[in-house]
Symmetry: C2
Subunit: 315 residues, 2 copies
């Protein structure tokens, strides 16, 4: 089986219990929950039984131990998670507002996971990898861009593949060198996983068809376009296949997109047909939405089977 790796942040999330605005008074909170988009992604991959690992860093504290323990017990190779002796594990405080949007207070850039370096353990993990997943939100510094580009080159040189979820806030593209870095990564990408208008954001195109043509022209072999409640569509040069989104009670959508991506990349690497891979990825995302805590909703194959059966789909 092909080994998937990812590079990026490991955090704990602290959630406000009550909906409202911000953190200006003492509130009832719950945490720490294991978190970080790349960590959630790779945990979902591991739960499906795929070999996988993450390059990151945590502090020498319970928040770091909590994450390592969870990832390890779910089957993630944690050998390239370094322990920072002076910086704490990253944190994200999250509060849902009345309208479903979220207030965040992050400690990432200056936390342990903001300082990931090319270690011997990371090099060893890169050398064992068949697939790199790039999380756009983790491209927060020149070091992270460089690490991802290096990993992409190593993996591709060995005949491996690269998936890329831009997971972009538009303002990130204004950062020096960010657009160029995104394009360099896109040039290495086999499987592209944009959400909504991210499909056109890194192209010259203003409509879907032109964007797809431009992306295929770059050598990308497959695009999965995530469209929220409208489902997701798989495109390659032969076909376009759409899978439904499942309607579920929304407990906590944080992490659902990362679960979708982890599940899809896993099934895609296994050669699963696109319609099935999409449906199982959608189920994984829907299962994540139904659990409180960003990494609490990752699912194994049996849980996805049961969910699909429950929703009248073949498991």
């Amino acid at each position: 089986m092909k080994k998937i790796i990812v590079i990026g942040e490991i955090l704990v999330e602290i959630m406000a219990d009550q909906i409202g605005d911000g953190f200006l008074t003492p509130l009832a909170l719950t945490g720490p929950f294991p978190s970080g988009a790349p960590a959630i992604f790779i945990d979902q991959v591991a739960k499906l039984g795929q070999p996988c690992g993450i390059v990151s860093s945590v502090g020498c504290d319970d928040f770091g131990r909590l994450n390592i323990s969870r990832l390890q017990s779910d089957g993630v190779d944690v050998s390239a998670i370094s322990e920072d002796l002076t910086r704490p594990t990253g944190t994200a405080f999250v509060r849902y507002r009345q309208d479903g949007s979220r207030d965040f207070i992050f400690n990432i850039e200056h936390s342990a996971c903001g300082q990931v370096d090319m270690t011997q353990a990371a090099q060893t993990l890169f050398d064992s990898a068949d697939h790199l997943h790039v999380m756009g939100s983790s491209l927060s510094s020149p070091t992270f861009i460089e690490l991802n580009l290096r990993a992409a080159q190593l993996v591709k040189r060995r005949g491996g593949s690269v998936s890329f979820d831009p997971n972009l806030r538009k303002e990130m593209l204004k950062k020096d060198g960010m657009r160029q870095a995104m394009h360099q990564l896109l040039d290495q990408t086999d499987l592209f996983l944009p959400s909504g208008d991210e499909l056109t954001l890194l192209t010259e195109a203003s409509n879907e068809d032109d964007a797809l043509a431009e992306l295929f022209g770059k050598g990308i072999s497959a695009v999965v376009h995530k469209k929220g409640s409208k489902g997701a569509t798989f495109h390659d040069l032969q076909q376009s296949v759409t899978a439904r989104a499942f309607s579920v009670d929304e407990i906590d959508p944080t992490g659902a997109g990362d679960c979708f991506g982890g599940a899809f990349a896993t099934y895609w690497l296994r050669g699963t047909d696109p319609a099935t891979a999409l449906l199982r990825a959608s189920a994984s995302g829907a299962l994540a939405v139904g659990k409180r805590g960003p990494m609490e909703g990752t699912s194994n194959a049996e849980e996805i089977d049961a969910f699909l059966r429950h929703h009248g789909e073949p498991a």
Copy 2:
């Protein structure tokens, strides 16, 4: 009235609701509470109506706004609290263990308040100050040591005074240059506020009397020795006066020592007789122990009066 300044960390505290060990699973928490030893100290000073200010830094986030708003409304000059554009406000997660000890996860050194610099606003505050309080726990970097030494020299040159609470963990003395820095600060100190065996820790002495003689020999004019449940003793060359500790239901002892110090320094600067100053400082500490949240228990003069009357002491 004399203006008191302090330099050091501003944090929010996040408290676990249940007693136990560490932060390895999602817990019920409450926060953010305004915190940071120097911030609590200076808030207590302000509540007594003394002019005062703090040199510190917070992030551009609700945790910073919460602290600035609290300090400002209690009367602290916040003009020298800078806003860090990239680092978050410092945090402390605290959980009480069964035996009354505490588990902490700190983000201080790499947070906004770990990066305080000599700004124009800090210089202006130094120039307006009559008294500097040095918090030993804030001497976490060469920059902080340098800032405190510089402020001490400026304040003393203008005829002002310096108080020093070593607030030391012994392992801090092993840090390069820390013992020397403590001695340099002790050389500038007028009012020394050690707890327990801190009385001898920075001297050559092995008993109280020798330590006091050595400290007075350095030019220190008064020592307040804090002895927990045994109360506190004021020593100068003329007298030794002990005040009782008050027995109160312990809700949250965090910050009580900072409140004691803030109240004592204030009354001492006003020329209050040592017995009264000690008793009022003890009352302030006891009031702090009875409130949940490190800065929630600072008291104004009327609250201290009422507490003393309730405990059969003259207010």
